[in-house]
């Protein structure tokens, strides 16, 4: 009776609901319109106009060198806010006619929207990218960024950083072969994974390890003493990857690992040395060297736990230095993973997100000049002052934890032990690795299976 018409209404309701769901789920595909709107909103919401105001004041005071005023549009990941504040101030001192319009976005957001903004009608002059296929490869394929080889020669970047170090910013012209060909970006900040330690706790166990074997011994001693040997939170999946990367570099030559990341033909992680590394990692898991429930602990919480005194070591990226310095003061120490069977000091490490010049930049030479300031030896001191580690040697007298972190990076660079980030290897590798490290730590798979699964992803993309 009436229920029939009632149910018809319900049916229409159901269809509408489904339509709304799908349009919500798929609106991400409609990049052009959504991203353009975002862009405007960002420009409006941008509160980083303080630098621009300063510039005006300076420009007025320095009339004699006045050229036509130029505004450099910079789109950057939010972690570089302090760095950019220093750099833009210095640059406008040198070039008073230049002012900056800076837009910042947090990392996850940034990686989602940056390609869309760079391909929009109103792209910035200078922008961050990200190493690997999903961002840099895309920007090259789309013809959105300029090659930097000429600038690299002009400013001497290759000699300063070492040829191999800059390979992470290279792609062939068609954007399909990572690690080879044209240089598209550069950054002077070193983002290295290393070993933080609690000085008090390590002091009670023994001295600083000089080999990987000694480090392994200290873990056992820490466990025996009732401590958590390695603080780790792997809810996100990637933190354990950084730990594994250090074990990997202890056993396997760094050059082989880099070849694998760059997709060189025939590269594989299923090798004898890699098996030894995976077996060692498994042993650490089985010995209980990681906190209980490691897959359920968030990364930030694990850092907080380490600061609170839980854990003798924490294997993590050097971007934690400022946090640990503030939280632990003189009790926090850092060293690069000591040399293992591979014979060199190595580990998961790379330079920071590349700075790119967009193809629509109004004055590419000026943009290059600004990027050169960011990666210059002189600016290395300033990087240290905002807690960043410069990949270029600096004469600054750094003190405390940052000095140890800088020394650690230097040790890896000296041995050419940089192994890059494994998740750059294929577009899907990040997801594969995060899931597989959790399964490995959770005991769902063993080291051999871990290597096979990871290689399967690599083979699918490079085979």
């Amino acid at each position: 009776m009436t229920n029939v018409s009632h149910s018809r209404m319900l049916r229409i309701l159901a269809v509408i609901l489904a339509f709304m769901l799908l349009s919500a789920a798929c609106s991400g595909g409609d990049d052009d319109s959504t991203v353009a709107a975002d862009d405007d909103a960002m420009a409006a919401a941008d509160d980083d106009t303080a630098a621009a105001a300063d510039d005006d004041a300076m420009a007025a005071a320095d009339d004699d060198t006045m050229a036509d005023p130029v505004v450099l549009d910079v789109l950057a990941e939010a972690g570089d806010e302090a760095t950019l504040e220093l750099a833009t101030a210095q640059f406008t001192e040198m070039y008073p006619h230049v002012s900056f319009n800076i837009t910042l976005r947090a990392f996850d957001d940034y990686m989602q929207i940056a390609p869309g903004i760079l391909s929009s009608d109103d792209p910035p002059d200078v922008a961050h990218g990200n190493q690997g296929y999903t961002i840099d490869g895309l920007l090259v394929q789309g013809g959105l960024i300029l090659p930097l080889d000429d600038y690299a020669e002009q400013y001497g970047w290759v000699e300063a950083f070492g040829d191999g170090t800059l390979d992470q910013y290279r792609f062939t012209e068609d954007g399909t072969d990572f690690g080879n060909g044209v240089l598209w970006g550069i950054n002077g900040v070193a983002e290295f994974v290393g070993v933080y330690y609690n000085k008090e706790k390590l002091g009670a166990l023994g001295g600083l390890p000089s080999t990987f074997e000694e480090f392994d011994g200290l873990l056992a001693a820490a466990k025996d003493a009732g401590e958590v040997p390695i603080q780790l939170g792997n809810a996100e999946g990637w933190p354990a990857l950084h730990v594994y990367g250090m074990v990997e570099a202890a056993y396997r030559p760094a050059a082989e690992i880099r070849d694998w990341v760059f997709g060189e033909p025939g590269a594989t992680v299923v090798t004898d040395t890699e098996r030894q590394a995976a077996a060692k990692f498994e042993e650490w898991r089985d010995n209980g060297y990681f906190p209980e429930g490691v897959n359920g602990i968030a990364y930030d919480d694990s850092v907080a736990n380490f600061i609170a005194g839980e854990g003798v070591f924490m294997i993590a990226g050097n971007w934690n230095t400022a946090t640990l310095d503030e939280g632990m003061g003189a009790n926090a120490g850092y060293f690069a993973m000591p040399v293992g069977p591979s014979g060199i000091v190595g580990g998961t490490a790379a330079l920071a997100l590349p700075w790119h010049i967009t193809t629509s930049a109004e004055d590419p030479d000026l943009a290059a000049e600004f990027i050169n300031l960011l990666v210059s030896e002189e600016f290395a001191d300033d990087l240290a002052s905002v807690g960043r580690v410069a990949a270029r040697s600096s004469d600054t007298e750094i003190e405390g934890l940052l000095a140890e972190v800088t020394a650690g990076a230097a040790a890896v660079i000296a041995d050419e032990g940089v192994t890059l980030y494994a998740d750059w290897a294929t577009p899907t590798m990040f997801d594969t690795l995060t899931a597989k490290t959790q399964e490995l730590l959770g005991g769902q798979i063993d080291g051999e299976q871990f290597l096979n699964d990871v290689q399967a992803d690599w083979d699918a993309a490079n085979g």
Binding site: T2, G29, G116, A435
Partner: protein, 319 residues
Amino acid sequence: MEPSGPGDRSPRGRANRPPRADRAAPRGPAGRVQPVAYLYLLPAFAFFAVFAVAPLVHAFKLSFYEWNGITDQSWVGLDNYVTVFTDPKVRAALWNSVILIVFYAVLPISVALAVVGLMARVRIRGRTAFRAVLFVPTILPLTVVAVAWRWVYAPDGPLNFGLDLIGLDFVSRAWLGDFTFALPSMGMVGTWVTFGLVFVLFAAGVQKIPPELYESARLDGAGIIREFFAVTLPELRGEITVAMILTVTAALRNFDLVFVMTRGGPGTNTEVPSMFIYRSVFQIREIGLGAAIGVILMLELLAVNLAVLWYRRRGDLSA
């Protein structure tokens, strides 16, 4: 909600109302819909077309292309669909979303029915306040809910603290990092969120059931269980259908909770289809693949909801 004073309870409100279709459209002398009537639909339809139909059609089209969002699109036919159906990870995610239906729909509806059945007999003091509190999870943003529950489930969070306190320390664990308990733990949050809505829906429905029905059931000697199955349950069929549609949809489209609480982990244990859409579009930038998963998810949703409605309608006709 409609006010339901004792006055409008006695006649069977719903049954005696004129059929809605008669009131909805103005009719001409011949009893046919006048063309001008469609004009009134135009504004709403335009809105619907621009914001729902157009993106849907666009997404459907994209699902047949390979596209990274920047360079040219290239037609690949059904390749994206083949990829989806041959990827065991996507199949596992679809299966997870079916399991979540138990937590989002079946569990809250069963519990709410039981409570409502009880309420038909037992007068509960402060019922309005009770209902308001239960409804709160429904109006909270899901990201807020997810952050709060991530804290509750944390290894040193309140849940484990409580378990340790009452001597159940062998039960406590890192709930969201546990390969056995991560999915059920997240499912329970879904139950918590949808229960309030379902309960309020049923409680309102029960108030509209004429008391005479209960009276005659009791005169015939029905106990509380019999009364529930003979009166409450059949009279709530409409509400149950609405509840099913809303909660099943919530279960299948679940993204917020997974994204904030586990990102699909540990391993791939809490992967759901919408996470794959997100990854395909924003991380690996295979927009066609994301669109294909979106289309399949929509069809899954449509199929489940149509099944619910079909079952409902069949029940009506036979009743």
